[in-house]
Amino acid sequence: MNSRIATIASNTFREAVRDRVLYNLIGFAVLLSGAAILVGQISIDIEKLVVINLGLTAVSLFGVVIAIFVGIGLVSKEIEKRTLYTVLSRPVRRWEFIVGKFFGLAGTLVVNAFFMAIGVFAALLYVAHKFQKPDGWVLVALYFIILQFLIICSLALLFSSFSSPLLSAVFAFSLFVIGTFSEDLRNFAGMATGLTKWLATAVAYLIPNFSALNVISSVAHGQPVSGQLIVYNTLYALLYAIMALCGAILIFQRRNLK
């Protein structure tokens, strides 16, 4: 990574770490993991299932909320507060700024996910007293959650490069919700006919396929995740994030900073 991108990324990470809102969100996530223990204890025989389901959902949901709320302000806030002027008047190319911001936010989310995952595993150990081999698949589910974060980060940045923070939040969150049901949308496209089929297919392929990245339920049931899915999901998430980032760069390259 070039040094300017690394500098911008580390500053973005530092900004997120010093942001109090972030701690509130992490606090909520820890509380939810704690609640998983409580719910797990009253769920006879399915404690582990409840802990994994609730814990990983908390990691995913709070990570997405952080990604959206931090991501939407990454560019627009810098323009609004004019902090960007003193950055872009240096030998920093606009694409380096966008990429640096992306890595900074992605790094923040990975670190957050790491700490929240420790909470999930602690909760799991508390209810099951020991780890078993199928618990390893929880790590794969966490990896997929991180892949989701990469897509959400890039989308938040894309919207932030041309829209206001509020609209960016609406766009990004809507895409997350629709993307979560993308499998249903694909099924609908398969059943539809004529123009509806074309439209539904186009939308289904355009929106991010978050349902493929969600293996929380199967992992909670101790089912393994195929290596092929891991490879496909990795390639898909990276490609999608790169494309969204390229879009953000293309828009930002032409933008006048008034």
Partner: protein
Amino acid sequence: MGFWRKRPKCALRPLHLNVEEGEIFGFLGPNGAGKTTTLKMLMGLVFPTGGSARILGMDINDSTVKAQIGFLPEQPYFYDYLTARELLEYYGRLSGVVGKDLSPRVEKVLGRVGLPDVGGVQLRKFSKGMLQRVGIAQAILHEPKVVFFDEPMSGLDPMGRREVRDLMEQLKAEGKTVFFSTHILSDAEALCDRVAVIHLGELRAVGAVADLTSGVQGKVEIIWEGTSVPASIKALGAECHITGDTVRAVLAEESQDLALDVLRRERLRLVSLVPVRTTLEQYFVEKLKRSEKTAGSLV
């Protein structure tokens, strides 16, 4: 246009301007004249619809030129979660100052702008004047060859303004080129080798301050000791002001000899006689009035 996109506004008309290496160049104009837009174009923050600009012989779109320029935006705002030291280290790294060089340079520049003891304080606790100083620090941190300041005296108290003036003179002594925009004419008059006057996005005048203000107004100022104005001097149409035991009269140059005769006759002691020169402010106001008239006659 209109519904989907904002109607474009002509912020700047063709502007031909050369700034010599090593000079302090003042960019003058009232609010909304196009000063900040010009600077933003030079920094690559907004894109001109046409034309080109070069800094140190390099095109402004060439990113290598940016390592050799420093920029202070108008009313700067910085990442307030950082301390002054962290902010300067951040900007230093972005400008290519790395390794062992960085820390001493940050301390040096903090001292240079009068903030040696607050490097560890978060910027959210800084006053407007202190932020302005940090802004100047980040602009000169990487020892650029050309420095662009947009309203550098804004938000500073008289002492701070004096210090910034001194700093700009030091930068000039170090061989750096300083380009600064201002609407405070006394600063420009005291500092600049040359100035340009811009109004309504159009360049109205450019030249050395001495040349622009050298024009005499055809009037002289006579000061003598006394507490009253002789009637024969009043009759010459002089504008007179009595302050303590001195009288100051401004009158037409052709009446100068007659006024001196009166003073001799009345045995009044002459203190001084000087031609009234145009100040930069008078020149500026005159230029703006003329350009507004021209604009008005075109409508």
